[in-house]
Symmetry: C2
Subunit: 299 residues, 2 copies
Protein backbone atom coordinates (compact mmCIF):
# COMPACT_ATOMS: atom_id res chain seq x y z
CA UNK A 1 0.00 0.00 0.00
CA UNK A 2 1.45 3.33 -1.04
CA UNK A 3 -0.32 6.62 -1.51
CA UNK A 4 0.40 8.42 -4.77
CA UNK A 5 2.43 11.62 -4.51
CA UNK A 6 0.24 13.40 -7.04
CA UNK A 7 -3.37 12.93 -8.02
CA UNK A 8 -4.99 14.21 -11.19
CA UNK A 9 -8.62 15.24 -10.87
CA UNK A 10 -10.92 14.79 -13.84
CA UNK A 11 -13.65 17.38 -13.44
CA UNK A 12 -16.97 16.04 -14.73
CA UNK A 13 -19.23 18.82 -13.46
CA UNK A 14 -19.90 20.52 -16.82
CA UNK A 15 -20.99 17.18 -18.33
CA UNK A 16 -22.02 14.55 -15.76
CA UNK A 17 -22.95 17.28 -13.30
CA UNK A 18 -25.24 19.27 -15.57
CA UNK A 19 -26.61 16.73 -18.03
CA UNK A 20 -29.72 15.86 -16.03
CA UNK A 21 -30.69 19.46 -15.20
CA UNK A 22 -34.28 19.89 -16.45
CA UNK A 23 -34.07 23.64 -17.14
CA UNK A 24 -31.81 24.70 -20.02
CA UNK A 25 -28.53 26.19 -18.85
CA UNK A 26 -27.09 28.84 -21.15
CA UNK A 27 -23.97 28.09 -23.16
CA UNK A 28 -22.34 31.18 -21.66
CA UNK A 29 -22.86 29.80 -18.16
CA UNK A 30 -21.30 26.48 -19.16
CA UNK A 31 -18.33 28.25 -20.73
CA UNK A 32 -17.86 30.44 -17.67
CA UNK A 33 -17.97 27.36 -15.46
CA UNK A 34 -15.35 25.58 -17.55
CA UNK A 35 -13.16 28.66 -17.55
CA UNK A 36 -13.35 29.09 -13.79
CA UNK A 37 -12.53 25.42 -13.28
CA UNK A 38 -9.44 25.79 -15.44
CA UNK A 39 -8.44 28.91 -13.52
CA UNK A 40 -8.75 26.96 -10.25
CA UNK A 41 -6.15 24.50 -11.51
CA UNK A 42 -8.19 21.65 -12.97
CA UNK A 43 -6.18 20.16 -15.83
CA UNK A 44 -8.80 17.80 -17.17
CA UNK A 45 -12.35 19.00 -17.76
CA UNK A 46 -15.11 16.95 -19.33
CA UNK A 47 -16.83 19.75 -21.17
CA UNK A 48 -19.64 18.23 -23.23
CA UNK A 49 -21.42 15.15 -24.47
CA UNK A 50 -21.89 14.52 -28.18
CA UNK A 51 -25.09 12.56 -27.86
CA UNK A 52 -28.41 13.14 -29.55
CA UNK A 53 -30.32 16.08 -28.04
CA UNK A 54 -33.31 13.74 -28.02
CA UNK A 55 -31.60 11.73 -25.25
CA UNK A 56 -29.84 14.52 -23.40
CA UNK A 57 -31.36 17.92 -24.28
CA UNK A 58 -29.11 19.72 -21.79
CA UNK A 59 -26.06 18.80 -23.89
CA UNK A 60 -27.60 19.96 -27.21
CA UNK A 61 -25.14 22.89 -27.38
CA UNK A 62 -22.10 20.61 -27.36
CA UNK A 63 -20.67 22.20 -30.53
CA UNK A 64 -21.07 25.72 -29.17
CA UNK A 65 -19.47 24.71 -25.89
CA UNK A 66 -16.54 22.90 -27.44
CA UNK A 67 -15.90 25.65 -30.00
CA UNK A 68 -16.50 28.49 -27.55
CA UNK A 69 -13.88 27.39 -25.04
CA UNK A 70 -11.10 29.74 -24.08
CA UNK A 71 -8.37 27.15 -24.03
CA UNK A 72 -5.80 27.21 -21.27
CA UNK A 73 -2.40 25.72 -21.73
CA UNK A 74 -2.05 22.39 -19.99
CA UNK A 75 -5.79 21.76 -19.77
CA UNK A 76 -7.44 18.84 -21.56
CA UNK A 77 -11.03 19.50 -22.66
CA UNK A 78 -12.79 16.20 -23.29
CA UNK A 79 -16.21 15.08 -24.44
CA UNK A 80 -18.34 11.96 -24.27
CA UNK A 81 -18.81 10.35 -27.69
CA UNK A 82 -21.00 7.26 -27.60
CA UNK A 83 -20.75 6.54 -31.32
CA UNK A 84 -18.94 7.39 -34.55
CA UNK A 85 -21.32 10.20 -35.41
CA UNK A 86 -20.69 11.87 -32.05
CA UNK A 87 -16.98 11.39 -32.46
CA UNK A 88 -16.93 13.00 -35.93
CA UNK A 89 -18.81 16.02 -34.60
CA UNK A 90 -16.45 16.27 -31.63
CA UNK A 91 -13.41 16.06 -33.89
CA UNK A 92 -14.80 18.85 -36.06
CA UNK A 93 -14.96 20.99 -32.94
CA UNK A 94 -11.33 20.27 -32.09
CA UNK A 95 -11.91 18.09 -29.03
CA UNK A 96 -8.70 17.12 -27.13
CA UNK A 97 -9.91 13.77 -25.93
CA UNK A 98 -13.07 11.68 -26.04
CA UNK A 99 -14.70 9.06 -23.85
CA UNK A 100 -16.80 5.97 -24.36
CA UNK A 101 -19.15 4.55 -21.78
CA UNK A 102 -19.45 0.84 -20.98
CA UNK A 103 -20.97 -1.07 -18.06
CA UNK A 104 -20.01 -3.96 -15.83
CA UNK A 105 -23.65 -4.99 -15.55
CA UNK A 106 -25.56 -6.74 -18.32
CA UNK A 107 -28.92 -5.51 -17.07
CA UNK A 108 -27.68 -1.92 -16.86
CA UNK A 109 -26.22 -2.11 -20.36
CA UNK A 110 -29.48 -3.46 -21.74
CA UNK A 111 -31.64 -0.84 -20.01
CA UNK A 112 -29.27 2.05 -20.57
CA UNK A 113 -27.96 1.54 -24.09
CA UNK A 114 -30.16 -1.31 -25.27
CA UNK A 115 -27.45 -3.86 -26.01
CA UNK A 116 -25.29 -6.39 -24.21
CA UNK A 117 -21.92 -5.46 -22.73
CA UNK A 118 -20.16 -7.36 -25.53
CA UNK A 119 -22.22 -5.57 -28.18
CA UNK A 120 -21.41 -2.19 -26.59
CA UNK A 121 -17.71 -2.97 -26.82
CA UNK A 122 -18.13 -3.89 -30.51
CA UNK A 123 -19.82 -0.55 -31.12
CA UNK A 124 -16.87 1.27 -29.55
CA UNK A 125 -14.34 -0.39 -31.89
CA UNK A 126 -14.86 1.99 -34.83
CA UNK A 127 -14.88 4.98 -32.43
CA UNK A 128 -11.50 3.93 -31.07
CA UNK A 129 -10.15 3.26 -34.55
CA UNK A 130 -11.24 6.64 -35.89
CA UNK A 131 -9.94 8.44 -32.78
CA UNK A 132 -6.57 6.74 -33.22
CA UNK A 133 -6.42 7.97 -36.84
CA UNK A 134 -7.24 11.49 -35.61
CA UNK A 135 -4.60 11.17 -32.90
CA UNK A 136 -7.16 11.81 -30.15
CA UNK A 137 -6.99 9.82 -26.94
CA UNK A 138 -9.98 7.82 -25.72
CA UNK A 139 -10.96 7.34 -22.11
CA UNK A 140 -13.15 4.37 -21.17
CA UNK A 141 -15.81 4.50 -18.49
CA UNK A 142 -17.13 1.41 -16.78
CA UNK A 143 -20.33 1.97 -14.85
CA UNK A 144 -21.86 -0.08 -12.02
CA UNK A 145 -18.48 -1.30 -10.75
CA UNK A 146 -19.73 -1.54 -7.15
CA UNK A 147 -23.38 -2.28 -7.72
CA UNK A 148 -26.20 -2.05 -10.23
CA UNK A 149 -29.70 -0.67 -9.75
CA UNK A 150 -31.09 -3.79 -11.47
CA UNK A 151 -28.66 -6.60 -10.64
CA UNK A 152 -27.43 -5.54 -7.20
CA UNK A 153 -23.92 -6.83 -6.47
CA UNK A 154 -21.45 -6.97 -9.37
CA UNK A 155 -18.59 -9.46 -9.40
CA UNK A 156 -15.14 -7.81 -9.39
CA UNK A 157 -14.16 -10.30 -12.13
CA UNK A 158 -16.81 -8.82 -14.42
CA UNK A 159 -15.48 -5.29 -13.83
CA UNK A 160 -11.96 -6.54 -14.54
CA UNK A 161 -13.10 -8.23 -17.76
CA UNK A 162 -14.79 -5.12 -19.17
CA UNK A 163 -11.93 -2.87 -18.04
CA UNK A 164 -9.39 -5.14 -19.70
CA UNK A 165 -11.40 -5.15 -22.95
CA UNK A 166 -11.54 -1.33 -23.02
CA UNK A 167 -7.83 -1.07 -22.26
CA UNK A 168 -6.90 -3.60 -24.91
CA UNK A 169 -9.11 -1.82 -27.44
CA UNK A 170 -6.96 1.23 -26.93
CA UNK A 171 -8.46 3.29 -24.11
CA UNK A 172 -5.49 5.01 -22.46
CA UNK A 173 -7.32 5.13 -19.12
CA UNK A 174 -10.27 3.30 -17.60
CA UNK A 175 -12.51 5.12 -15.15
CA UNK A 176 -14.28 2.85 -12.67
CA UNK A 177 -17.72 4.21 -11.86
CA UNK A 178 -19.71 3.48 -8.72
CA UNK A 179 -22.77 4.75 -10.56
CA UNK A 180 -25.26 4.29 -7.74
CA UNK A 181 -22.85 5.02 -4.89
CA UNK A 182 -23.55 1.82 -2.98
CA UNK A 183 -19.90 0.83 -2.57
CA UNK A 184 -17.99 0.70 0.70
CA UNK A 185 -14.21 0.81 1.19
CA UNK A 186 -13.27 -2.86 1.36
CA UNK A 187 -15.51 -3.68 -1.62
CA UNK A 188 -13.88 -0.82 -3.52
CA UNK A 189 -10.43 -2.21 -2.68
CA UNK A 190 -11.33 -5.74 -3.73
CA UNK A 191 -12.82 -4.51 -7.00
CA UNK A 192 -9.77 -2.39 -7.71
CA UNK A 193 -7.39 -5.23 -6.93
CA UNK A 194 -9.24 -7.46 -9.40
CA UNK A 195 -9.07 -4.80 -12.12
CA UNK A 196 -5.42 -3.98 -11.41
CA UNK A 197 -4.48 -7.57 -12.20
CA UNK A 198 -5.62 -6.86 -15.79
CA UNK A 199 -4.95 -3.13 -16.28
CA UNK A 200 -1.96 -1.25 -14.82
CA UNK A 201 -2.87 0.81 -11.75
CA UNK A 202 -1.59 4.00 -13.38
CA UNK A 203 -4.19 3.55 -16.13
CA UNK A 204 -7.11 3.45 -13.70
CA UNK A 205 -9.33 6.19 -12.32
CA UNK A 206 -11.89 6.16 -9.51
CA UNK A 207 -15.27 7.68 -10.36
CA UNK A 208 -17.30 7.40 -7.18
CA UNK A 209 -20.73 8.73 -6.37
CA UNK A 210 -21.74 9.87 -2.91
CA UNK A 211 -25.34 8.64 -2.85
CA UNK A 212 -24.80 6.82 0.46
CA UNK A 213 -22.15 9.21 1.77
CA UNK A 214 -19.35 6.68 1.24
CA UNK A 215 -17.43 8.31 -1.64
CA UNK A 216 -14.58 9.89 0.33
CA UNK A 217 -14.07 6.80 2.47
CA UNK A 218 -13.97 4.72 -0.71
CA UNK A 219 -11.54 7.14 -2.32
CA UNK A 220 -9.28 7.02 0.72
CA UNK A 221 -9.30 3.22 0.50
CA UNK A 222 -8.33 3.16 -3.18
CA UNK A 223 -5.73 5.91 -2.70
CA UNK A 224 -4.12 3.51 -0.23
CA UNK A 225 -3.89 1.09 -3.15
CA UNK A 226 -2.22 3.67 -5.35
CA UNK A 227 -4.99 5.04 -7.58
CA UNK A 228 -3.82 8.44 -8.82
CA UNK A 229 -6.74 9.71 -10.92
CA UNK A 230 -10.07 10.73 -9.42
CA UNK A 231 -13.23 11.91 -11.20
CA UNK A 232 -15.31 14.47 -9.33
CA UNK A 233 -17.80 17.26 -9.84
CA UNK A 234 -17.61 20.79 -8.48
CA UNK A 235 -20.25 21.38 -5.75
CA UNK A 236 -21.21 17.70 -6.16
CA UNK A 237 -23.28 18.72 -9.21
CA UNK A 238 -25.38 15.91 -10.61
CA UNK A 239 -27.99 14.01 -8.67
CA UNK A 240 -28.45 10.27 -8.63
CA UNK A 241 -31.05 9.42 -11.31
CA UNK A 242 -31.87 6.19 -9.44
CA UNK A 243 -32.88 7.88 -6.18
CA UNK A 244 -34.65 11.21 -6.52
CA UNK A 245 -33.15 13.91 -4.30
CA UNK A 246 -30.08 11.83 -3.53
CA UNK A 247 -26.50 12.84 -4.22
CA UNK A 248 -24.55 11.94 -7.31
CA UNK A 249 -20.91 12.72 -8.00
CA UNK A 250 -18.52 13.26 -5.17
CA UNK A 251 -17.73 16.98 -4.79
CA UNK A 252 -14.38 18.11 -6.18
CA UNK A 253 -13.86 20.47 -3.23
CA UNK A 254 -14.23 17.65 -0.72
CA UNK A 255 -11.77 15.50 -2.69
CA UNK A 256 -9.21 18.31 -2.82
CA UNK A 257 -9.59 18.89 0.93
CA UNK A 258 -8.94 15.18 1.49
CA UNK A 259 -5.89 15.20 -0.78
CA UNK A 260 -4.50 18.36 0.84
CA UNK A 261 -4.86 16.71 4.24
CA UNK A 262 -3.06 13.59 3.03
CA UNK A 263 -0.23 15.68 1.62
CA UNK A 264 -1.02 14.57 -1.93
CA UNK A 265 -0.46 17.22 -4.60
CA UNK A 266 -3.32 18.04 -6.97
CA UNK A 267 -2.28 21.50 -8.12
CA UNK A 268 -5.76 22.82 -7.35
CA UNK A 269 -6.55 26.06 -5.54
CA UNK A 270 -9.23 24.98 -3.08
CA UNK A 271 -10.54 28.46 -2.40
CA UNK A 272 -10.96 29.26 -6.09
CA UNK A 273 -12.63 25.91 -6.63
CA UNK A 274 -15.00 26.42 -3.69
CA UNK A 275 -15.88 29.90 -4.95
CA UNK A 276 -16.69 28.35 -8.34
CA UNK A 277 -18.97 25.82 -6.64
CA UNK A 278 -20.77 28.58 -4.74
CA UNK A 279 -21.15 30.61 -7.92
CA UNK A 280 -22.49 27.80 -10.17
CA UNK A 281 -24.97 26.49 -7.60
CA UNK A 282 -26.32 30.00 -7.03
CA UNK A 283 -26.47 30.58 -10.78
CA UNK A 284 -28.45 27.44 -11.55
CA UNK A 285 -30.40 27.40 -8.28
CA UNK A 286 -29.14 24.13 -6.84
CA UNK A 287 -27.98 23.25 -3.33
CA UNK A 288 -24.22 23.18 -2.90
CA UNK A 289 -23.46 19.54 -2.16
CA UNK A 290 -19.84 20.13 -1.26
CA UNK A 291 -19.54 20.19 2.53
CA UNK A 292 -16.22 22.00 2.14
CA UNK A 293 -17.93 24.54 -0.13
CA UNK A 294 -20.69 25.15 2.41
CA UNK A 295 -18.28 25.36 5.36
CA UNK A 296 -15.91 27.76 3.60
CA UNK A 297 -18.67 30.03 2.33
CA UNK A 298 -20.27 30.10 5.81
CA UNK A 299 -17.06 31.27 7.43
Amino acid sequence: MAFPQNVRLVEVGPRDGLQNEPEPIGTETKLALIDRLGAAGLTHIEAASFVSPKWVPQMADHREVMQGLTRRQGVTYSALTPNLRGLEAALECGVDEVAVFGAASEAFSQKNINCSVAESLERFAPVLERAREANVRVRGYVSCVLGCPYEGEIAPAKVAEVSKALYEMGCYEVSLGDTIGTGTPLKAKRMLEAVAREVPMDKLAAHFHDTYGQALANLYAVLEEGVAVIDSSVAGLGGCPYAKGASGNVASEDVVYLLDGLGIESGIDLEALAATGTWITQTIGRPNRSKVGVALSAK
Copy 2:
Protein backbone atom coordinates in the same frame (compact mmCIF):
# COMPACT_ATOMS: atom_id res chain seq x y z
CA MET B 1 -3.96 -2.89 11.38
CA ALA B 2 -6.99 -4.95 12.24
CA PHE B 3 -10.63 -3.94 11.92
CA PRO B 4 -12.75 -4.62 14.98
CA GLN B 5 -15.35 -7.39 14.63
CA ASN B 6 -17.97 -5.36 16.47
CA VAL B 7 -18.47 -1.64 16.87
CA ARG B 8 -20.61 0.04 19.49
CA LEU B 9 -22.32 3.25 18.42
CA VAL B 10 -22.90 5.98 20.97
CA GLU B 11 -25.90 7.93 19.74
CA VAL B 12 -25.55 11.60 20.60
CA GLY B 13 -28.51 12.94 18.57
CA PRO B 14 -30.87 13.64 21.49
CA ARG B 15 -28.15 15.70 23.25
CA ASP B 16 -25.39 16.95 20.93
CA GLY B 17 -27.78 16.86 17.98
CA LEU B 18 -30.58 18.89 19.52
CA GLN B 19 -28.87 21.17 22.02
CA ASN B 20 -28.35 24.09 19.64
CA GLU B 21 -31.85 24.03 18.15
CA PRO B 22 -33.27 27.53 18.69
CA GLU B 23 -36.95 26.54 18.89
CA PRO B 24 -37.98 24.52 21.94
CA ILE B 25 -38.52 20.85 21.18
CA GLY B 26 -41.16 19.15 23.31
CA THR B 27 -40.10 16.62 25.92
CA GLU B 28 -42.47 14.10 24.33
CA THR B 29 -40.63 14.44 21.01
CA LYS B 30 -37.28 13.89 22.71
CA LEU B 31 -38.63 10.83 24.52
CA ALA B 32 -40.11 9.42 21.32
CA LEU B 33 -36.76 9.94 19.57
CA ILE B 34 -34.87 8.16 22.32
CA ASP B 35 -37.36 5.32 22.29
CA ARG B 36 -37.15 4.86 18.53
CA LEU B 37 -33.36 4.90 18.67
CA GLY B 38 -33.43 2.14 21.27
CA ALA B 39 -35.88 0.17 19.14
CA ALA B 40 -33.50 0.48 16.17
CA GLY B 41 -30.79 -1.26 18.18
CA LEU B 42 -28.74 1.58 19.66
CA THR B 43 -27.39 0.40 23.01
CA HIS B 44 -25.91 3.68 24.18
CA ILE B 45 -27.93 6.87 23.95
CA GLU B 46 -26.84 10.24 25.30
CA ALA B 47 -30.22 11.48 26.39
CA ALA B 48 -29.72 14.84 28.10
CA SER B 49 -27.36 17.45 29.43
CA PHE B 50 -27.51 18.57 33.06
CA VAL B 51 -26.26 22.08 32.46
CA SER B 52 -27.82 25.37 33.42
CA PRO B 53 -30.81 26.29 31.21
CA LYS B 54 -29.17 29.72 30.98
CA TRP B 55 -26.40 28.17 28.87
CA VAL B 56 -28.39 25.56 26.98
CA PRO B 57 -32.12 26.31 27.12
CA GLN B 58 -32.95 23.37 24.85
CA MET B 59 -31.77 20.95 27.54
CA ALA B 60 -33.79 22.62 30.32
CA ASP B 61 -36.10 19.59 30.54
CA HIS B 62 -33.24 17.21 31.39
CA ARG B 63 -35.04 15.90 34.50
CA GLU B 64 -38.27 15.25 32.63
CA VAL B 65 -36.38 13.49 29.84
CA MET B 66 -34.28 11.33 32.13
CA GLN B 67 -37.23 10.42 34.36
CA GLY B 68 -39.65 9.97 31.48
CA LEU B 69 -37.61 7.36 29.63
CA THR B 70 -39.11 4.00 28.86
CA ARG B 71 -36.00 2.00 29.64
CA ARG B 72 -35.03 -0.85 27.39
CA GLN B 73 -32.94 -3.72 28.65
CA GLY B 74 -29.37 -3.50 27.46
CA VAL B 75 -29.52 0.21 26.68
CA THR B 76 -27.39 2.74 28.54
CA TYR B 77 -28.98 6.19 28.89
CA SER B 78 -26.31 8.75 29.66
CA ALA B 79 -26.15 12.48 30.32
CA LEU B 80 -23.59 15.23 30.22
CA THR B 81 -22.75 16.56 33.71
CA PRO B 82 -20.21 19.37 33.66
CA ASN B 83 -20.14 19.82 37.43
CA LEU B 84 -21.13 18.32 40.76
CA ARG B 85 -24.48 20.07 40.79
CA GLY B 86 -25.37 18.61 37.40
CA LEU B 87 -24.19 15.20 38.53
CA GLU B 88 -26.33 15.25 41.68
CA ALA B 89 -29.40 16.15 39.64
CA ALA B 90 -28.62 13.41 37.12
CA LEU B 91 -28.16 10.86 39.90
CA GLU B 92 -31.52 11.84 41.40
CA CYS B 93 -33.05 11.05 38.00
CA GLY B 94 -31.45 7.61 37.92
CA VAL B 95 -28.94 8.24 35.15
CA ASP B 96 -26.99 5.14 34.00
CA GLU B 97 -23.82 6.94 33.08
CA VAL B 98 -22.51 10.49 32.91
CA ALA B 99 -19.96 12.37 30.85
CA VAL B 100 -17.50 15.20 31.41
CA PHE B 101 -16.21 17.44 28.67
CA GLY B 102 -12.56 18.50 28.33
CA ALA B 103 -10.57 20.03 25.50
CA ALA B 104 -7.20 19.48 23.88
CA SER B 105 -6.96 23.20 23.11
CA GLU B 106 -6.16 25.82 25.72
CA ALA B 107 -7.85 28.58 23.74
CA PHE B 108 -11.00 26.51 23.26
CA SER B 109 -11.11 25.63 26.95
CA GLN B 110 -10.75 29.29 27.91
CA LYS B 111 -13.43 30.48 25.48
CA ASN B 112 -15.81 27.59 26.05
CA ILE B 113 -15.64 26.95 29.80
CA ASN B 114 -13.59 29.91 30.94
CA CYS B 115 -10.68 28.02 32.47
CA SER B 116 -7.46 26.30 31.45
CA VAL B 117 -7.37 22.63 30.47
CA ALA B 118 -5.64 21.80 33.77
CA GLU B 119 -8.28 23.70 35.74
CA SER B 120 -11.07 21.91 33.88
CA LEU B 121 -9.56 18.58 34.88
CA GLU B 122 -9.40 19.70 38.50
CA ARG B 123 -13.09 20.61 38.35
CA PHE B 124 -13.93 17.11 37.09
CA ALA B 125 -12.18 15.41 40.04
CA PRO B 126 -15.10 15.77 42.51
CA VAL B 127 -17.55 14.75 39.74
CA LEU B 128 -15.60 11.55 39.15
CA GLU B 129 -15.28 10.90 42.86
CA ARG B 130 -19.00 11.31 43.51
CA ALA B 131 -19.89 9.21 40.46
CA ARG B 132 -17.63 6.43 41.74
CA GLU B 133 -19.41 6.52 45.10
CA ALA B 134 -22.73 6.28 43.31
CA ASN B 135 -21.41 3.43 41.16
CA VAL B 136 -22.08 5.37 37.93
CA ARG B 137 -19.57 5.21 35.10
CA VAL B 138 -18.07 8.40 33.67
CA ARG B 139 -17.19 8.96 30.04
CA GLY B 140 -14.65 11.64 29.15
CA TYR B 141 -14.87 13.79 26.06
CA VAL B 142 -11.90 15.56 24.57
CA SER B 143 -12.79 18.25 22.06
CA CYS B 144 -10.66 19.81 19.31
CA VAL B 145 -8.54 16.67 18.84
CA LEU B 146 -7.95 17.42 15.15
CA GLY B 147 -8.12 21.19 15.15
CA CYS B 148 -9.37 24.19 17.09
CA PRO B 149 -11.39 27.16 15.81
CA TYR B 150 -8.99 29.49 17.66
CA GLU B 151 -5.61 27.70 17.67
CA GLY B 152 -5.79 25.80 14.40
CA GLU B 153 -3.65 22.64 14.49
CA ILE B 154 -3.50 20.72 17.76
CA ALA B 155 -0.48 18.56 18.63
CA PRO B 156 -1.32 14.84 19.00
CA ALA B 157 0.81 14.88 22.17
CA LYS B 158 -1.59 17.38 23.75
CA VAL B 159 -4.58 15.17 22.91
CA ALA B 160 -2.76 12.20 24.40
CA GLU B 161 -1.94 14.14 27.57
CA VAL B 162 -5.53 15.20 28.22
CA SER B 163 -6.88 11.76 27.31
CA LYS B 164 -4.45 10.10 29.70
CA ALA B 165 -5.44 12.50 32.48
CA LEU B 166 -9.15 11.73 32.01
CA TYR B 167 -8.47 8.00 31.89
CA GLU B 168 -6.30 8.08 34.99
CA MET B 169 -8.91 10.14 36.83
CA GLY B 170 -11.32 7.26 36.29
CA CYS B 171 -13.11 7.81 32.98
CA TYR B 172 -13.84 4.32 31.67
CA GLU B 173 -13.76 5.58 28.06
CA VAL B 174 -12.37 8.65 26.33
CA SER B 175 -14.17 10.00 23.29
CA LEU B 176 -11.95 11.91 20.87
CA GLY B 177 -13.87 14.77 19.29
CA ASP B 178 -13.04 16.42 15.98
CA THR B 179 -15.25 19.29 17.08
CA ILE B 180 -14.85 21.40 13.95
CA GLY B 181 -14.52 18.53 11.48
CA THR B 182 -11.27 19.71 9.94
CA GLY B 183 -9.48 16.38 10.32
CA THR B 184 -8.36 14.13 7.49
CA PRO B 185 -7.56 10.40 7.66
CA LEU B 186 -3.80 10.37 8.18
CA LYS B 187 -4.00 13.11 10.80
CA ALA B 188 -6.74 11.14 12.53
CA LYS B 189 -4.53 8.04 12.53
CA ARG B 190 -1.51 9.89 13.88
CA MET B 191 -3.57 11.50 16.62
CA LEU B 192 -5.07 8.15 17.55
CA GLU B 193 -1.69 6.44 17.61
CA ALA B 194 -0.38 9.09 20.00
CA VAL B 195 -3.37 8.66 22.31
CA ALA B 196 -3.27 4.86 22.14
CA ARG B 197 0.24 4.93 23.57
CA GLU B 198 -1.29 6.36 26.78
CA VAL B 199 -4.82 4.89 26.86
CA PRO B 200 -5.73 1.37 25.71
CA MET B 201 -7.37 1.31 22.28
CA ASP B 202 -10.44 -0.45 23.64
CA LYS B 203 -11.04 2.53 25.94
CA LEU B 204 -11.16 5.03 23.06
CA ALA B 205 -14.03 6.30 20.93
CA ALA B 206 -14.06 8.40 17.75
CA HIS B 207 -16.40 11.38 17.78
CA PHE B 208 -16.02 12.95 14.36
CA HIS B 209 -17.90 15.82 12.79
CA ASP B 210 -18.61 16.03 9.09
CA THR B 211 -18.20 19.78 8.57
CA TYR B 212 -15.74 19.22 5.71
CA GLY B 213 -17.22 15.92 4.55
CA GLN B 214 -14.29 13.91 5.91
CA ALA B 215 -15.94 12.09 8.81
CA LEU B 216 -16.52 8.71 7.18
CA ALA B 217 -13.05 8.65 5.61
CA ASN B 218 -11.59 9.50 9.01
CA LEU B 219 -13.67 6.80 10.68
CA TYR B 220 -12.54 4.25 8.13
CA ALA B 221 -8.93 5.21 8.85
CA VAL B 222 -9.31 4.80 12.63
CA LEU B 223 -11.30 1.57 12.24
CA GLU B 224 -8.22 0.26 10.45
CA GLU B 225 -6.35 1.03 13.67
CA GLY B 226 -8.86 -0.89 15.74
CA VAL B 227 -11.16 1.75 17.23
CA ALA B 228 -14.39 -0.02 18.20
CA VAL B 229 -16.60 2.78 19.55
CA ILE B 230 -18.06 5.53 17.36
CA ASP B 231 -20.18 8.51 18.38
CA SER B 232 -22.76 9.64 15.84
CA SER B 233 -26.06 11.43 15.52
CA VAL B 234 -29.18 10.21 13.73
CA ALA B 235 -29.82 12.23 10.53
CA GLY B 236 -26.58 14.10 11.27
CA LEU B 237 -28.53 16.27 13.73
CA GLY B 238 -26.52 19.15 15.11
CA GLY B 239 -24.92 21.84 13.05
CA CYS B 240 -21.41 23.15 13.45
CA PRO B 241 -21.62 26.22 15.70
CA TYR B 242 -18.36 27.53 14.21
CA ALA B 243 -19.63 27.65 10.61
CA LYS B 244 -23.27 28.59 10.16
CA GLY B 245 -25.15 26.22 7.88
CA ALA B 246 -22.37 23.65 7.96
CA SER B 247 -22.72 20.06 9.12
CA GLY B 248 -21.97 18.85 12.60
CA ASN B 249 -22.06 15.26 13.80
CA VAL B 250 -21.55 12.43 11.37
CA ALA B 251 -24.89 10.74 10.62
CA SER B 252 -25.49 7.44 12.42
CA GLU B 253 -27.15 5.95 9.32
CA ASP B 254 -24.06 6.65 7.19
CA VAL B 255 -21.81 5.06 9.84
CA VAL B 256 -23.99 1.95 10.03
CA TYR B 257 -23.97 1.66 6.23
CA LEU B 258 -20.17 1.84 6.30
CA LEU B 259 -19.93 -0.78 9.05
CA ASP B 260 -22.38 -3.09 7.29
CA GLY B 261 -20.28 -2.83 4.13
CA LEU B 262 -17.11 -3.63 6.05
CA GLY B 263 -18.75 -6.67 7.64
CA ILE B 264 -18.49 -5.14 11.12
CA GLU B 265 -21.37 -5.94 13.47
CA SER B 266 -23.19 -3.06 15.15
CA GLY B 267 -26.49 -4.74 15.97
CA ILE B 268 -28.37 -1.82 14.44
CA ASP B 269 -31.35 -2.09 12.10
CA LEU B 270 -30.44 0.40 9.38
CA GLU B 271 -33.97 0.74 7.99
CA ALA B 272 -35.46 1.45 11.41
CA LEU B 273 -32.68 3.94 12.10
CA ALA B 274 -33.19 5.70 8.75
CA ALA B 275 -36.94 5.88 9.35
CA THR B 276 -36.20 7.49 12.72
CA GLY B 277 -33.98 10.05 11.01
CA THR B 278 -36.69 10.86 8.47
CA TRP B 279 -39.26 11.19 11.23
CA ILE B 280 -37.25 13.45 13.57
CA THR B 281 -36.08 15.80 10.80
CA GLN B 282 -39.64 16.16 9.52
CA THR B 283 -40.89 16.69 13.08
CA ILE B 284 -38.43 19.47 13.92
CA GLY B 285 -38.23 20.90 10.38
CA ARG B 286 -34.56 20.27 9.67
CA PRO B 287 -32.88 18.86 6.57
CA ASN B 288 -31.92 15.20 6.81
CA ARG B 289 -28.12 15.25 6.72
CA SER B 290 -27.76 11.51 6.39
CA LYS B 291 -27.09 10.66 2.75
CA VAL B 292 -28.18 7.10 3.46
CA GLY B 293 -31.37 8.46 5.02
CA VAL B 294 -32.12 10.61 1.98
CA ALA B 295 -31.29 7.83 -0.50
CA LEU B 296 -33.38 5.22 1.30
CA SER B 297 -36.37 7.50 1.74
CA ALA B 298 -36.18 8.55 -1.95
CA LYS B 299 -36.32 4.94 -3.14
